[in-house]
């Protein structure tokens, strides 16, 4: 919907003011999840190697940790822990780096490419997540995430954004960390082959597929370009806590500063604005997003 057709009652300024009121709270839950899952994952190594828990149990727990690993880093990428306070930026960086160890992913590369994803959502040349979101089918997206194609998409961004010095600097700064991850993985594979496979590599693959499907594919499926058109409200059979409430991801694209756990309340408050703007699926947003109103069987 063209902004000219939207009543002044639903102006962007009013929308922004409401969104801002949900963008203040300290995201302590995310820090707990990010650092917590990384510590649990790390503790699996001595527990499995010393035979205290079986490898299959370690694999299940590590896979769960990997599925929880991305979202805390995502809040870091948007500076949602420091909230604009330069003295607290270290917290964004700390949580962002630590939580991504489980996914074998360098924080800075994910941060800068994610910023480009927000700036150019659904642009087939400039959106780093375009091919993951618009692969044509869920199976293709899963295959791309599993075989590392989604990582190759990020490497191509270096050419697309070669003129953007900040992007290139941040990206290249993270390459030694990517190599360190790789060297650590290969070294551990020689010393503890099956443990490395089942505690790190395979869980990281599962976590990456989970993240790409729920964060990149489903929220952008069938959407086009434009602030109010590039992400949708959707629902399916899965209780929302299993997919990190990604049915509500559209509000994050409109107002990235809203904390993840404050998104349901923000959507309730902003629902008339979203409907007036014609956000895809907005008419199906329930009046109250409480326990699990987003299940659609």
């Amino acid at each position: 919907m063209n902004s000219k057709n939207v009543s002044s009652e639903f102006s962007f300024e009013k929308e922004k003011a409401i969104a801002k009121s949900f963008s203040q709270r300290f995201q302590w839950e995310m820090i707990l999840i990010g650092i917590g899952q990384a510590m649990i994952w790390l503790s699996l190594w001595p527990l499995v190697i010393n035979g205290i828990i079986p490898l299959w149990a370690g694999f299940c727990i590590a896979s769960l940790c990997a599925c929880f690993a991305y979202l805390p880093s995502h809040e870091s990428q948007h500076g949602n822990y420091s909230r604009g306070n330069p003295k607290m930026r270290w917290l964004d960086s700390l949580v962002g780096h630590i939580t991504l160890i489980t996914l074998i992913s360098p924080y800075e590369i994910l941060r800068v490419t994610h910023m480009k994803h927000h700036a150019y959502t659904n642009d087939h040349e400039k959106d780093p997540d375009y091919l993951s979101a618009h692969s044509g089918s869920l199976i293709k997206t899963i295959k791309r995430a599993a075989d590392g194609s989604s990582v190759s998409d990020y490497e191509k961004c270096l050419e697309v954004f070669a003129h953007d010095k900040n992007f290139v600097n941040s990206y290249t700064k993270a390459i030694p960390i990517a190599l360190l991850y790789r060297a650590t993985l290969l070294t551990l594979a020689v010393i503890f082959p099956l443990e490395t496979l089942l505690l790190w590599w395979l869980p990281a693959k599962i976590g990456t597929v989970y993240t790409v499907v729920f964060f990149a594919y489903l929220p952008h499926l069938g959407t086009s370009k434009g602030r109010y058109q590039d992400t949708r409200f959707w629902s399916h059979w899965m209780p929302r806590y299993i997919n990190h409430s990604m049915q509500l991801h559209f509000i994050h694209h409109l107002h990235p500063g809203i904390g993840h756990y404050d998104e349901p309340k923000a959507i309730e408050a902003l629902k008339p604005f979203l409907q007036a703007r014609g956000v895809p699926g907005a008419d199906e947003i329930p009046d109250r997003i409480t326990f699990n109103p987003l299940i659609k069987i």
Binding site: A146, D147, R182, L185, V190, L197
Partner: protein, 65 residues
Amino acid sequence: MLVEKFFDHISNWSKFWFGLIFLGSIINEMANQSGMFISVPSLYLWTYGLGAMIGLIAKIRGAWF
């Protein structure tokens, strides 16, 4: 210059090295633990060789699958 060449090699041949070291180590461990190949002399040559071959094929194809 040497560092640059090293990084170029790593990025061009990453699939091969991953196959040799990572897949090779895992195949070798599985072969040893299964006990089925206990009579095969220098088993590690076959297991690491298989890993390297998988990596080399992936490098030539440009994709794992």
